[in-house]
């Protein structure tokens, strides 16, 4: 490839990162906006502010790699190439949802893009990733699984059991901590001793990396290393990405009036918006223009309008099917 072609390819990749983050941002904001219509009748945990962790890390994966997520899974699903119509229909409780309406926002499963599961019991899903990776090895596949978990989830025993198992069995899994430093309304320092979260990897002789979770390219670079290690038989890695949840823990609103986190902290993180900072960088690098941004927004708005209309037009699942598929 010529130098110019290489540069163009690099620009295209960066634009994709931006587009993917902006897609998550706009979709989550639209969910927040429409939530009061009371048509999305399930709890939603939005990932606004945390777009770079999902997008940067998924950009380091192939389509046949898998991810596992938690209660806060919209961003992961979208970053992994998820079907927006299927996600929204699921949140609207409709038959065309990725789980046929059975799961709601907190259970997004979509094999076709490698969204193996999202499970809303904190850390419950972590060992599933270790097992998923065990299966790749068993079948001679060079796939990798990323498990996304919050800082709170690292307090569960099963997280530590999973770290140990993954290290001992050297399975191709990446534990990706999105450290927004809160578990609901309780700050990290009130729940864990103060030390770098990456120290936990030492106990399991596991490589680790910490990264600015609002810098999508840094996240991609760090994840790519971990994924390459896993893919080549080098075993698991722990990644800690610091980021911030902008809105309330659960629901569409802001909750800064509750006073559980200082406004200066909120403002400082918002000033470091992962989408806007990267957008500005691309503009400065001459990769993106304001017109280009507007075009991207228009493209996403069109996809969204269609997907919301699709979700709302999708029928509710037939109550007669409620007892189907209890056993395989």
């Amino acid at each position: 490839m010529t130098e110019a072609a290489l540069a163009a390819q690099k620009d295209a990749v960066r634009l994709d990162l931006y587009r993917s983050m902006q897609r998550i941002r706009l979709v989550e904001e639209e969910i927040a906006k429409r939530y009061s219509e009371q048509e999305m009748r399930c709890p939603v945990h939005l990932s606004i502010g945390q777009e770079a962790t999902a997008v940067g890390s998924c950009a380091a994966l192939r389509n046949d790699d898998q991810i596992i997520s938690s209660h806060r899974g919209h961003g992961h699903y979208m970053a992994k190439g998820g079907n927006l119509k299927a996600m929204l229909a699921e949140i609207y409780g409709r038959v065309d949802g990725c789980c046929g309406g059975r799961g709601g926002s907190m259970h997004l499963f979509d094999d076709s893009v490698g969204m193996l599961a999202s499970v809303p019991i904190v850390a419950s899903f972590v060992p599933l990733g270790v097992g998923a990776a065990l299966a790749y090895r068993h079948f001679g596949q060079d796939r990798v699984c990323i498990v996304y978990l919050g800082d709170g989830a690292t307090e569960e025993g099963v997280f530590h059991e999973s770290m140990n198992l993954a290290a001992v069995h050297k399975v191709p899994v990446v534990f990706f901590i999105e450290n927004n430093s809160y578990s609901c309304y309780i700050g990290l320092a009130d729940r864990q001793p103060v030390r770098p979260l990456t120290d936990m990897a030492k106990a399991y002789a596991m490589p680790s990396a910490s990264v600015d979770g609002n810098d999508v390219e840094a996240v991609q670079a760090v994840t790519a290393q971990a994924v390459a290690r896993a893919r080549s038989g080098g075993g698991p890695t722990l990644i800690v990405a610091d980021t911030y949840r902008w809105r309330e823990h659960c629901g569409p609103n802001y909750d800064n009036d509750l006073g559980y986190r200082p406004m200066a902290e909120v403002d400082a993180w918002r000033a470091r918006c992962p989408v806007d900072t990267f957008g500005a960088k691309l503009v400065a690098d001459g990769v993106l223009t304001e017109a280009g941004k507007a075009a991207i927004n228009a493209e996403i708005e069109a996809e969204m309008a269609e997907a919301f209309a699709f979700a709302k037009a999708s029928p509710f699942p037939d109550p007669k099917t409620v007892a189907d598929r209890v056993y395989a």
């Binding site: 009748r41 399930c42 709890p43 409780g93 409709r94 949802g97 789980c99 046929g100 309406g101 059975r102 799961g103 709601g104 926002s105 907190m106 259970h107 499970v119 809303p120 019991i121 904190v122 850390a123 709170g152 989830a153 307090e155 569960e156 025993g157 099963v158 578990s183 609901c184 309304y185 309780i186 009130d190 729940r191 864990q192 909750d255 509750l258 006073g259 559980y260 509710f316 699942p317 037939d318 109550p319 007669k320 099917t321 409620v322 007892a323 209890v326």
Partner: protein
């Protein structure tokens, strides 16, 4: 008579906790979110301000660990109250509860006690779905050594919680989230109620019905509908699932010859299954109709409201079963069912029905 005070069950739970903590410095409370701005749906409101972090302990997300910690502390004289915002989070603690808490007194031949209270909240509605709205009381009720309490009113929530906290055995105290809103007359001060079994809510000779927790509220509506038709149902609110006191129920079924049980959880291997078995052991030969059970069907809780609507039994279903057991003719059965169904279907199913908010 002075005007009786009306408060919600959530307020009653808070009041009982406050009273118990004031009365005994060994009472501590621990859980995720007990001192956050939402204070577990208001049930731990102001406790941190009043008793401080040494007794109101905000927990890391480590349920099995802190449950074991509570048991160890209880063995050395503390009286910990544990709170989980959903029953499901306590599934992580089954090992500690079943292997340690339930057996400590027995295995030590009486030397140890593990007086903990585990408050568990059952979620329902708003599409919470498969992992946030299960009613799993029978998992706990299966274990000798645990006590299992399920209040249905503000009055009982306060009185039974006070007794649970002073009880020397581990008590699993299950609060249905929709029960938190229920208002009722609740006496001030130390109004403990013994953990002694069912309460008779109505008297009657036609049918005996036993319900628990939130389903007691649905059953009250059904029993009212039958009363309006001149059918007197004897209604028991079970309150204490373990140890199970069936004596008053047996006495009633000996008169009525008809029994319906209404569970918040699964019908299969459910609380109703145990009640029916116990009653049949003593009343089998005097029954006028085969006993019936209402409970959740054989599948997980779906999120979508169209599916969840088909999942939960409601007052029209209960009324229909009662009317059938009472031997009413088909036209009256249908009329009773439809009247209740009309009332219920006018409003969404996935939020608490206003007629259940009391005061009771």
């Amino acid at each position: 008579m002075p005007e009786q005070r009306v408060i919600s069950a959530a307020q009653a739970i808070r009041e009982a906790t406050d009273l118990a903590m004031a009365a005994d410095p060994a009472v501590i409370i621990m859980g995720e979110g007990i001192a956050d701005p939402k204070t577990i749906f208001g049930t731990t409101d102001q406790l941190m301000e009043k008793y401080g972090p040494a007794r109101v302990m905000e927990m890391s997300i480590a349920e099995n660990g802190f449950t074991g910690m509570a048991i160890g502390a209880a063995m050395n004289g503390l009286r910990p109250i544990i709170v989980h915002q959903r029953v499901e989070f306590a599934l992580l603690t089954m090992e500690q509860l079943v292997n340690n808490a339930a057996k400590m007194h027995y295995v030590s031949n009486g030397a140890h006690k593990a007086p903990i209270v585990v408050r568990l909240i059952v979620g329902r509605g708003w599409g919470q779905g498969p992992a946030h709205s299960q009613s799993l009381e029978t998992l706990f009720a299966h274990i000798p050594g645990l006590k299992v309490v399920m209040p249905a009113s503000a009055h009982d929530a306060k009185g039974l919680l006070l007794s649970a906290i002073t009880d020397d055995s581990p008590v699993v105290f299950i609060e249905h989230r929709w029960m938190h809103y229920v208002k009722g007359h609740v006496p001030e001060g130390w109004a403990a109620l013994p953990l002694d079994g069912p309460a008779r809510l109505t008297q009657g000779d036609a049918v005996t019905v036993v319900s628990n927790s939130y389903m007691t509220l649905e059953t009250i509506r059904a029993v009212e509908a039958l009363a309006a038709e001149g059918v007197a149902v004897e209604h028991f609110d079970l309150r204490v699932v373990r140890p199970l006191n069936v004596d008053p129920i047996v006495e009633s079924v000996k008169r009525t010859g008809r029994l319906l049980t209404v569970d918040t959880g699964f019908a299969t291997y459910g609380v109703g299954a145990e009640i029916v078995a116990r009653v049949m052991e003593r009343c089998c030969l005097t029954m006028k109709a085969a006993p019936r059970r209402i409970g959740l069907p054989e599948h997980p809780t779906p999120s979508s409201r169209s599916l969840a609507a088909a999942f939960y039994p409601r007052s029209p279903d209960i009324a229909q079963a009662l009317a059938e057991l009472a031997g009413l003719d088909q036209a009256r059965i249908t009329a009773i069912h439809n009247r209740l169904a009309e009332e219920r279907e006018a409003l969404p199913f996935d939020v608490p029905h206003p007629s259940f908010q009391g005061p009771f």
